[in-house]
Symmetry: C2
Subunit: 419 residues, 2 copies
């Protein structure tokens, strides 16, 4: 091992496979002579500011390997967005100070669009302050809303969870419908992009199969058209299964369920649109409804991860090390699709400046004309992503053997920092 | 094949493995010379009254085998409880009329306590009307609330789903807690019995691990004690993970979330206690919470079924045929535990009259003194039940290959019936 150290940080909401990316980073760095040790920020960028750095060299080979099948964020993540360099110059200078103190030459920020933006700004400030750092963004977001890349690691596993779950729950409500529950509603994540909701559509392998209705944030909610559709489906099939995105809004742009709370990024904190939809159906059509809100379950369900996703998540971590060892900076390893069937892909690269702050929503060509389902084109895009299973090992107690690590912290070298 | 036909009916809420029981019934009956064909009631007992009977002899060997890994109720179920013989004599007489018309000598009712009660009454009325039918109850209920049997088929798979899910979601909230969500709440089923909530406790393999709090219907909800506990856990661990039963009630017996709706059995229709708990924590302690309601997902999640459960569900179906072939009636095949470690069990039998209308709740010895967790005794009981995985086969599209069947109906022989 030679060269400067890598600093790896996880950002934003975690995924079933973000640790597989960490695994790819650490395993590749350990075998790579051009880079030094991997330090990991405790709780994302906040851990860099606080100089809370985890020394991953203390992790055993088995612990690192176990990250590949462990959900959550093993080093902790955070919801904290650095503002512009002008507004937050002290924070950016602190980052560089910490980098200097720990001989960091490579900064890997593993997150979504906000994180790509931060990594891009850090690469700029390093140059300005005369301490150039190679900054690599590593893609991760269950929302699948990054541009350029074919897919964002994390999304395919959530997609698989949602497709499997709605397929199973639909068999349940179908069994019960003659004398009891006629409508089942599953609420899924996706604030502005309906990719996760769209994935529910994969369970309907043939026309008319459940779920019969998908509500996208990209389509303004039309109450009368929706009720009419539910009524028709129940009359035709005896039951109706619905996937609703948390981000569904009416024609005026108001979230169907706006709790008024906002997260640290300033986004509205949603949750609970499923009961709203259930109450509408109950009140207007009189059907008994059941509803589920999968919330964190969907983005931590490593037990039903997509094998494609695990492989891609590992690959982008590996590529980050290879990119930086090759002298690259200001870029992100992305997934490039070579063919749909069989699904073939390779790692490519994109400039961070072109990725930041652009949300890729579900295109109109992927949503059926009536706005309630996915098209064949969408199916062609999504289907390969959920292929293959990658089960975690289970213990004799019937539970997954997820890795837990008592982290060794790198001794701090600077005074503590308060902005 | 000789002898009279079997009539098999599914009752009440379905489970991930009730079709494995159907598989056990049909496969065993096909090999058994003492019984005739298996007819299956469409939508439970309602299908018997309506003479909607499915001829399972039309199902291929592969379709029947596929039931072992298919969730939902393949023949349909219902929520409909026959009243006393005095109050509903016409219904009971209709059942016997349908039995006569289709040469039914064996009636298998696959359900919980209500269904055991119905099977018991049918065995009595058959005697009274001079058309004796061998009535076998087959246990099925995710609530695990039947007496005598060690466990109810269906429960172990839900237990495994809940334990795995809360383990995964807890890794998620732990990752996010430093700057965002500090509390995660998972709502699970269990109207009067907290077995499913208790199963969440299995994820806490060591003291202090998540979930740190379990709210049982057996323990009156004490708001101040609860808030104090949440506060302590967050201060100590940085985050708090909670499993709450839908049936949690305050000291006055009022459900924490009572929507006022009642199901066909007259039970309060619950759902949505998780957001109530989240709002309490947010308002009193100020912590950001996330919550999930697993609803039907938990009881249809065949993808993470317990192998023990699948084997037991199949075994009780097989035993029902063997019991009836041996001339038994008015009984239920149950699970008898022979040892905890290794878990060993065998099929035993119980009289239906002793099973009906008794709800086995979680005993005090299984709940920790403070009322917020499970004891070692509870762990010793529950842990063997979730052992082993039994994954369904997946197609090349990444989705489970669950069986669907276009049923062949037995031609009706009677006039249609309206009570």
């Amino acid at each position: 091992m030679s060269g400067k150290n890598i600093l790896y940080a996880q950002s934003g909401g975690v995924t079933p496979v973000i640790n597989a990316t960490a695994c790819g980073v650490i395993e590749t760095a350990r075998a790579e002579t051009e880079v030094g040790n991997v330090l990991a920020a405790k709780d994302g960028i906040l851990g860099v500011l606080d100089e809370q750095l985890i020394d991953t060299s203390a992790m055993t080979t088995q612990q690192v390997a176990g990250l590949r099948h462990t959900p959550g964020g093993i080093f902790g993540s955070c919801r904290y967005k650095l503002k512009s360099i002008e507004d937050s110059r002290a924070e950016y200078e602190r980052l560089i100070e910490v980098f200097k103190a720990h001989n960091i030459g490579h900064f890997f920020y593993n997150g979504g669009g906000d994180s790509a933006d931060t990594a891009y700004k850090v690469s700029q400030i390093g140059e300005q302050l005369g301490f150039p750092v190679q900054c690599i963004g590593i893609p991760k977001t269950i929302d699948n809303d990054l541009p350029i890349t074919d897919v964002c690691p994390g999304f395919p596993s959530v997609a698989k969870y949602v497709a499997v779950s709605i397929m199973e729950a639909s068999l349940d409500v179908m069994s019960m419908a003659s004398s009891s529950t006629k409508v089942f509603i599953l609420e899924v994540m996706g604030r502005h992009a309906g990719w996760i909701a769209a994935a529910g559509g994969l369970a309907a392998r043939n026309a008319g199969e459940a779920p019969q209705i998908i509500l996208f944030p990209e389509v303004a909610f039309d109450l009368q058209a929706f009720l009419q559709r539910v009524d028709n489906v129940v009359k035709q099939s005896g039951y109706c299964s619905i996937v609703v995105s948390e981000g569904v809004r009416d024609a005026g742009g108001k979230f169907l369920s706006d709790s008024g709370v906002r997260d640290a990024f300033g986004h509205a904190q949603l949750g609970g649109v499923a009961p709203v939809v259930a109450n509408l159906i109950k009140a207007e059509l009189g059907h008994k409804c059941h509803w589920a809100v999968s919330d964190y379950l969907q983005r931590s369900a490593r037990h039903i991860a997509s094998r494609v996703d695990v492989e891609q998540a590992y690959a982008v971590g590996k590529a980050a090390v290879e990119f930086t060892a090759a002298g690259k900076t200001g870029v992100m390893p992305i997934i490039e699709r070579l063919s749909d069937d069989p699904y073939q892909w390779q790692i490519a690269e994109a400039e961070l400046g072109k990725l930041a702050n652009i949300e890729k929503t579900v295109p109109a060509s992927f949503i059926s004309e009536d706005g309630f389902h996915i098209t064949d084109a969408c199916r062609g895009y999504l289907s390969p992503l959920i292929q293959g299973e990658d089960y975690p090992p289970y213990g004799s107690d019937g539970l997954p053997q997820y890795v837990t690590v008592k982290h060794k912290m790198a001794p701090p070298k600077l005074d503590s920092w308060c902005e």
